[in-house]
Symmetry: C2
Subunit: 721 residues, 2 copies
């Protein structure tokens, strides 16, 4: 692990929102955006909670942001020392990705404010911060700390019935609007200087004011601890929060920090990739791994990861196919218990998937496109707002992106294939695969003329083309689901009657007997000059260049897809589609076919999704074109550091961190550059190291053993550690 | 036949475009818009030709407007006596629907200009006009007549390489751009006063100037004759045009007029409806019958009628399902040879329908949604222009409105059922039905779960809801097509080997054996509380009121349908859909079911198509609710007189006359109010006369015999005449 600190100097109001993502701290339970202590809601601060959702009025359901327990603001001689109110002489934000520590230093002239903070990886309900104030001016200071309820919400407010308690421990209790789930935040502070302490409750929260006199050159320090619990975690959230706060205060900030960085050390030991040769790429990859690891659900064995992590309410805090296809690989190769957690979330939310299938008149399991708690579908029928009419537009992600069920079945099978551990399949995973297979059976149509099964009216990974027929990716993932359903008896080979009972319980025998025939009749895509057609009729669409299509935009924020969008009737695609198919099913394709598809689709891809570049990079490596992969690797790894990615889809804000790209960066490094795969339980390396990298070194964990993989241009090795 | 003259007084520039439609003259071969003689292209004049199409650059193919041979303009003492240049003291347009004569009287103070004109029903290539000029001021006059090439085109220009000849007969020759088809216009004039005649060729045509001195109180008259021929009509269009012109001049205007009105007398004798009790409704119905009869292809046995008749280039001059479902009934009951012409057009354009089916990967006959010559598809994939971005929007009329083939098969069967004449079926019609049935077989999908055939991804009559599954109307018309294909052996019962040979020639035996099974498995619609669901999932759409939906419009011209339109995700429909199904298949529904469907769908119908109201009126009569029918009858019958109907779809001009509504008005009167039907060759009347009508009287022709139908509130009768 090389350089792991990212620093940004200077204050620019334009980048405050992006900085909130870049300097995010998270620990799987919560994420705290990288905003300064004194920020009000205009800076989009948030303590974003994993897995707690709320609907305000008839708006989108979204995750809840808790009140901010690390609020702090200094007034010196009646002048606020606060970003946004006083121009700083200098201002620096930094984050240490290796340690998971955010710090901030602002020189207001009269005072230099230094703070650092953690979202404890050891005690995930705990936030802790240390503030140091170095005074260059004597006089009277008031340092306010407390719990701010001046929250940023996309579709809020979500918290009601605020109740406050003051005293050594501040307490803010509230309940969510929809399900009346309690949310409690406690705060306590410890100052190393004498001060007069008073308390205030305002319409923006509960606060403690420390009044003290300062002399020139004096430095004072205060530690702040805050804890968050909800009714989903414990029976008495307020009590638990207060207890944790006070315990942390008793331990002190240093000990909290030490426990936290120790936990991060362990994470890096298990998955950290050392990349030599390009320092900025190395830092980007470290950042990328940090962002993904920081939101891994380590505190629970049955949670998954939202598409924008814990960086806010974007994408409704929902779990997408990103989890199975883009995040799962790093975890399954380095921290399989987290991979298992992602899948256990799907196993436990099977009832939600069954419910959705029934809703559409199908059987089996149709998983939510945007899954919230219990598998509830967060995706609406109107997922884009038209920039011209400001009206919602009917989109079809919810009802037509049926590959989601197959993606989950794919990952369940991959978990078994890579780890060799059948436990997940035996304990619910097999049922998920069977129910996904049944869903596809119930949606299958036999085209009478060809005697082939078509999957019409679907959306593949490329969302710009809605309601297409026989999307190559979708059909392949369905075939795999059906094939693996048929292979399940192997998994149960030691207890065949258990499988038979499962079929009994699911009343599955009739469907079972249909699977083989279905596999045989499933349509295959058209291949032209070695290029797989993305869906039926794709090759007949207008073959306009990306630049041409871009010039047709009337508004930079307008949505490219669907019947009104500039891309919908052309061959321009949003993201890797056939290329994702190749990445997931590499053995279906010869190297020549991969090269032909890459050459065809890459120039036609807008890469309007963070899920795109990594698939192109992976497949480029496969055919020895790591030169082509490099650009996509750098883009993928640095998306969050650069604050890139699309910020808007129509009028919907979609900014935040990009877990799928984070996972993708690891995939490119490990599965692409190092060429790592597991075949029949054996680790295989087929390195394609780009010239920019001199050495790549990373740990993996396979079947209870740990290995160090090392790849240079000359050699490569796998050593058990 | 009562009052048959419609008069409009006063000059209003705002209504010039609508007046062009209202005062249209036509004779099946051409239509001449009701503009004044001196009009330039800004008034949208046109001599619109039936069945001659051209594409300019990459724009829509549309029918060609010929140069205007009845151009005339007077200059008196150097002052133009022309609408638009000189304010008239009074201005009156009138049309005699019974005689097919347009006249115009304009008082410019110094001169009163009177003209009348015909588009000869006897000699359909001939236009004739008589101008009378009554001078109130003495001086020098110049009357210019000639052939104006200052044409109005929607997507032109279409004519090239103009060549002119001057002399007693003016000649204007040109060729179309795409197919280089010659278009020739001749003109000659005959004045009853001495004048100095000179000729001019300008960039706007070829003209003859008559210079003469006038005294106060003097009246002079000039007759003008113009003829139009194209290379589709005769080998030498210019010669034919000149010959016809000169023959007409030799006969004189009066004789031309007499022959013309005689032909119209015969038309009215065969189909004119006398309506007593409401004079304005009676006039509207007469107008409506006039508009439809004036565009009937009497000069050819194998032409159909465009959706906006011959009133311009709107809707690409193309033939829609309107012909079979809305125009066909009046003709089959009154002038069956014209009904046969409409169908013969479909029989002869079967190759075009086969070509379209192949284009989409199907077999059989998929007729053009907007059929041009030879059955060429005039409909594009982008049939609406978005009013906000000015970009074309992908619509699905062309590829998904598959009921068109079934509509044609339906009318073919109706022709036989009503007339008892198998000739059309024997001579090509059976082949059309078989090929339409085959098309549906090749598009059918068996839903494996239900073992039922679904027709997914279609558009029904209600175009606002795109890409729906199992549209009730579409499935029913497919079922009828399949059933009638199976009944064809009855038609060939006297020559069974002929049918067998037909199956041989079409290589149809395998498909034939699939038809019965297909009929049995075809999905039926869901019925809830007696209401047939328009398509799968319709009842689940937002049930917003028409008024609510209308308030969501951001621009009055925006398109309501599709994913962006205000109606697409609601239950608001553009036009009768289930109600059209009921009108076409009355025996499928009990009176209670008709009432339930009417009550449900009518308030949810925008009537945004002229095809809507008549279906509601027809079905209201069926259940004895002629009170509800009356409003729709009046709207339907008076749509062209009022200049109503939508003028815009997005940014596309769609104004013109409404043949389908014209046909619909007859259907309401005859099939609704009089309750006319034919069952097993017998005429049946089930009158439901509205209180506004005291007596309804009309002729029909059935199986070579003519009858007069008379209906009052007390009695009804059918008398052979």
């Amino acid at each position: 692990m090389k350089d792991s600190i990212f620093v940004k100097t200077g204050y620019d109001p334009e980048t405050v929102v992006q900085d909130g993502n870049r300097f995010l701290l998270a620990n799987g339970y919560l994420g705290i955006r990288g905003t300064v202590e004194e920020a009000d809601s205009s800076a989009l601060p948030a303590v974003n909670l994993a897995g707690l959702y709320d609907r305000y009025e008839n708006r989108w359901r979204e995750p809840v942001n808790a009140p901010m327990g690390l609020f702090a603001k200094l007034i010196l001689n009646d002048r606020p020392m606060a970003i946004g109110e006083t121009e700083p002489a200098s201002h620096t934000l930094s984050i240490d990705f290796r340690q998971g520590v955010f710090s901030r230093e602002t020189d207001f002239g009269a005072v230099v404010l230094y703070s650092e903070r953690i979202a404890s990886l050891m005690a995930p309900h705990l936030l802790a911060a240390k503030l140091s104030l170095h005074f260059r001016e004597r006089g009277e200071a008031v340092l306010t700390t407390g719990i701010s309820t001046d929250l940023w919400d996309l579709n809020g407010p979500h918290l009601n019935d605020y109740r406050y308690r003051t005293g050594e421990t501040l307490l803010c209790e509230s309940v969510t609007g929809e399900l009346r789930i309690p949310v409690a935040v406690a705060q306590t502070a410890s100052a190393d200087f004498p001060a007069v302490e008073t308390f205030r409750v305002t319409d923006k929260g509960v606060f403690r004011d420390l009044r003290f006199s300062v002399s020139e050159g004096e430095t004072v320090t205060v530690s702040i601890f805050s804890a968050v619990y909800t009714g989903q975690d414990v029976p008495s959230p307020a009590e638990s929060a207060a207890v944790l706060c006070n315990r942390a205060k008793a331990s002190g900030y240093s000990l909290c920090l030490q426990a936290h960085t120790g936990a991060w050390d362990e994470v890096w030991k298990r998955c950290g990739v050392d990349l030599d040769g390009d320092a900025s790429a190395a830092l980007a990859l470290t950042a990328s791994q940090y962002y993904l690891n920081s939101i891994a659900p380590r505190h629970a064995g049955n949670l998954s990861i939202p598409a924008r992590g814990l960086s806010g309410q974007t994408y409704k805090g929902a779990v997408f196919w990103d989890s199975e296809i883009f995040l799962f690989p790093m975890f399954v190769y380095t921290q399989p218990e987290i991979a298992a957690s992602l899948l256990r979330y799907r196993i436990e939310t099977l009832p939600g998937a069954r419910k959705k299938a029934r809703e559409y008149g199908y059987r089996g399991a149709f998983y939510a496109w945007e899954s919230q708690e219990g598998g509830a579908e967060g995706c609406t029928d109107f997922n884009v707002v038209d920039v011209f009419t400001h009206r919602p537009v009917r989109t079809y992600f919810r009802d037509k992106q049926i590959h989601i069920s197959g993606d989950i079945a794919y990952a369940l099978w991959e978990y078994w294939r890579i780890t060799g551990d059948p436990a997940l399949l035996l304990e619910g995973g097999a049922e998920v695969i069977l129910e996904c297979a049944r869903f596809y059976l119930s949606r299958a149509n036999l085209h009478l003329d060809s005697d082939l099964i078509d999957f019409a009216d679907v959306i593949g990974p490329d969302e710009y083309h809605e309601r297409v027929t026989n999307n190559a990716f979708t059909n392949r993932i369905i075939r795999y689901c059906w094939e693996n359903a048929l292979r399940l008896p192997e998994i149960f080979s030691e207890e065949p009657e258990r499988f038979s009972k499962l079929l009994d319980r699911l009343d599955y025998h009739a469907d079972w007997s249909r699977l083989k025939n279905a596999v045989e009749r499933l349509s295959n895509p058209r291949v032209r000059n070695g290029v797989t057609e993305q869906f039926q009729g794709y090759f007949d669409l207008e073959d306009a260049s990306l630049e041409t299509v871009r010039t047709r935009l009337c508004d930079p924020r307008e949505y490219w897809g669907g019947d009104h969008g500039v891309a919908g009737s052309t061959q321009i695609i949003k993201q890797a589609d056939v290329i994702t198919l190749i990445a997931l099913f590499p053995e279906d394709f010869t190297d020549e076919a991969v090269a032909a598809n890459w050459a065809y689709y890459e120039p036609r891809t807008e890469h309007g999704s963070s899920l795109s570049a990594c698939m192109y990079a992976l497949t480029a490596c496969r055919i020895g074109r790591q030169d082509l992969a490099w650009k996509h690797f750098v883009n993928t790894a640095s998306i969050d550091l650069n604050g890139g990615g699309k910020q808007w889809a129509g009028e919907i804000y979609i900014g935040g961190t990009h877990p799928a790209a984070n996972g993708g960066a690891w995939m490119i490094a490990a599965l692409g550059f190092a060429g790592l795969s597991v075949r029949d339980g054996t680790i295989v390396l087929r390195p394609h190291l780009p010239k920019e990298i001199t050495k790549l070194c990373f740990p993996i964990e396979l079947r209870g053993r740990r290995f160090q993989v090392t790849v240079t241009h000359e050699t490569h090795s796998i050593e058990e550690i």
